[in-house]
């Protein structure tokens, strides 16, 4: 609040700080638990009270994500690309806000935070361009030895729980959320516990970017507390453990085995580097559809 206090002194005007809320099913609820926790900057100064999400919030978010899955996965890849690009446009428009929030969250200088935010916007654009290409790159026609035609196509696995990285509140967040939804999955995102504000603000961007409600749901709070019910949830199809430490990751992977969720284990990632396709393919299924071919010329009546 140091900025704001300064401003009061200069202008005599009291600033209007934001009440940060969750983003679930396209709406901005408070935690059903009524709990909040104090979010501070790197100097320990109070920034805001973020919602301390409960297990019930996690379950509500899964319901919203499941409801959104049919429409989002059924949209054309071109359409999803348009929507993702729209998110990048809106992020760019709020660049200053995110620079401020990232600087405060991660203790960065404004110019350094600007580099991070720019990289995040560019990362989002990168994934926007992938939506209608990934199927061509990783799917294809298989040369079957027989009178059959078959095609292998990637399909989204469903609802993906995403534990956002703890060390990168915005670039890291964007780098794990965008690939999940680019391919048609829907996401329940657990924001970085210590610095959740950029993630909660991302919710506001998504809400105004033609992303259907429920496609991305953002929860803030203690990662372990929210992740446990997500890893055990029978209607969650996959989990990205990026934000879990070693012990928690193991515990969650064991819980995830109960319905054989796809698990992406935590790994060392330099979020400034252009990623590979693994974050997309980790949450894609491959469907192979067969059909007989008529044996043209072999037997006149076969087709």
């Amino acid at each position: 609040m140091s900025d704001k206090t300064e401003k009061i002194e200069k202008t005599g005007r009291l600033s209007v700080p934001k009440t940060y809320k969750l983003y679930v099913g396209g709406k901005f609820p408070r935690s059903e638990s009524g709990r909040v926790y104090e979010v501070t900057d790197s100097q320990g100064k109070w920034l805001a009270n973020a919602p301390l999400s409960s297990r019930k919030d996690a379950r509500d978010a899964v319901v919203a994500a499941r409801r959104a899955f049919g429409g989002w996965s059924g949209a054309t890849a071109y359409n999803r690309g348009q929507v993702l690009y729209r998110v990048a446009e809106m992020l760019e428009g709020r660049r200053d806000q995110f620079v401020r929030e990232v600087a405060a969250a991660e203790g960065l200088s404004k110019p350094r935070a600007a580099v991070v935010v720019d990289a995040a916007v560019d990362r989002w654009v990168w994934y926007a361009g992938w939506t209608d290409k990934i199927a061509q790159v990783i799917g294809g026609a298989n040369p079957v030895a027989g009178p059959f035609f078959n095609l292998s196509s990637p399909e989204p696995t469903g609802v993906v729980a995403v534990l956002a990285p703890q060390e990168s509140s915005f670039l890291g967040l964007v780098s794990v959320v965008a690939p999940v939804i680019a391919t048609g999955n829907t996401a329940v995102v657990v924001a970085c516990a210590k610095a959740p504000l950029p993630a909660l603000s991302l919710g506001e961007v998504l809400a105004t970017s033609d992303v259907p409600g429920g496609v991305v749901n953002v929860l803030s709070g203690r990662t372990a507390e929210i992740a446990a019910p997500l890893a055990a949830h029978q209607d969650v199809n996959a989990i990205d453990l990026a934000g879990a430490d070693e012990a928690l990751a193991k515990e969650l992977e064991i819980a995830a085995a109960d319905n054989l969720k796809r698990v992406l284990r935590p790994q060392a990632v330099d979020y400034f580097e252009t990623p590979g396709t693994e974050r997309m393919t980790a949450f894609l299924e491959t469907k192979t559809v067969w059909h007989p071919t008529g044996a043209l010329g072999a037997s006149g009546s076969s087709y």
């Binding site: 790159v137 990783i138 294809g140 298989n142 040369p143 079957v144 030895a145 027989g146 059959f148 078959n150 292998s152 696995t157 199809n237 070693e246 990751a249 193991k250 992977e253 064991i254 995830a256 085995a257 109960d258 319905n259 054989l260 796809r262 990623p275 590979g276 693994e278 393919t281 299924e285 491959t286 469907k287 192979t288 559809v289 067969w290 059909h291 007989p292």
Partner: protein
Amino acid sequence: MASAFEYAPAPESRSVVDIAPSYGLFIDGEFAEAAGGQVFKSVSPSTEEVLSEVARAGAEDVDRAVRAARAAFGKWSALPGAERAKYLFRIARIVQERSRELAVLETLDNGKPIRETRDTDLPLVAAHFFYYAGWADKLDHAGFGPHPKPLGVAGQVIPWNFPLLMLAWKVAPALATGNTVVLKPAETTPLSALFFADVCRQAGLPRGVVNILPGYGDAGAALVAHPDVDKVAFTGSTAVGKEIARTVAGTRKKLTLELGGKGANIVFDDAPVDQAVEGIVDGIFFNQGQVCCAGSRLLVQESVHDEVLDALKRRLSTLRLGDPLDKNTDIGAINSAEQLARITALADQGEAEGAERWSPACELPSSGYWFAPTLFTGVTQAHTIARDEIFGPVLSVLTFRTPDEAVAKANNTPYGLSAGIWTEKGSRILAVASRLRAGVVWSNTFNKFDPTSPFGGYKESGFGREGGRHGLEAYLDVR
């Protein structure tokens, strides 16, 4: 069914294959006794005759085999891809040359008809080695980055329903990508894997690259849990798959699972009935229904239910059950007494829950493990036989009225491995195929396999794909 033309027996000679009275474990290029000195017997399911006595691997043997595989890994992975390819091509050729021996051996040990081992299993085994041989020197082009790397030692656990084919699915891509292998075949069907050790010997494969440990679940568990294994691949039941997923949690081990299924075979009212009936039969009676992707739930559009069922029953009456080595046999023996008991219990439960049971007139041999082809009508989604994988020649018939209902019923299962669609309408095939949550969708055909085509499940049918370019990913470090 009485027929004007009775078939004379046409047995394939079993003298083409020599079965040793006993086999050891195959570790580091040599056969060895189990450390604990334990053995078990492999019996022929069609006669209960003891075929051979086989060393039973324990934890100590697993450790020895993993060390052998680790020792072999450095050289094997450093070999130019083109050289690895040549070994795989050699294996493929030897499998082709010896396919008659292998087909007879597999039929004796597994109980499946010689017609299937000869015409399906063995050609596919050779084809898998040929296919992956060609990848070994082209991995930079496989789409997993410019320098994809092998993972290390692969621990592979395979089931008894397609013993040699499952070996090929696991071993071929593992070797092509530069990994070394410790493979545990199922306790009821170890013989073709041990025969494969001899194929490796003939191919001159460096020692330690392939190690084979016949044994029970305890050996599989020890292999999966071994700290020096980098990759775990398992084909088998969903329950065991979940246990394995828990075991490897928190480790570096990459995991692929090919698990159970409860495939829906959907017949629309415009389907060509005779072709559909062939597909239904193939879908559930191929390999006595002991197939993870079997079309065990038949969903028939209500308006053609009676017509399809009549044709199906007529067709089932022509199936020939009996000696698996007879070239005319369609239905062989159930793999084990244990599996027969499971099938029997589930079928009895189907009857107890009120579904209507039907089998063609069918005489079962007096020795061995046999189960007549069976279908249940009047099945609802709540019935156990519509939900649980039976893994036997038991078909549950349900009905539907609209495509939406068909899709909803087909997807109403925790499994997601296979599905079938029978309709003459192309747009309906595409629409329904895209809505089915299953890894393989066969339209106007069923149970077709090919090494170029990825195979694997959605949901609780497991993760990862085997076959095709996708099958390489399971054995490579990718980003």
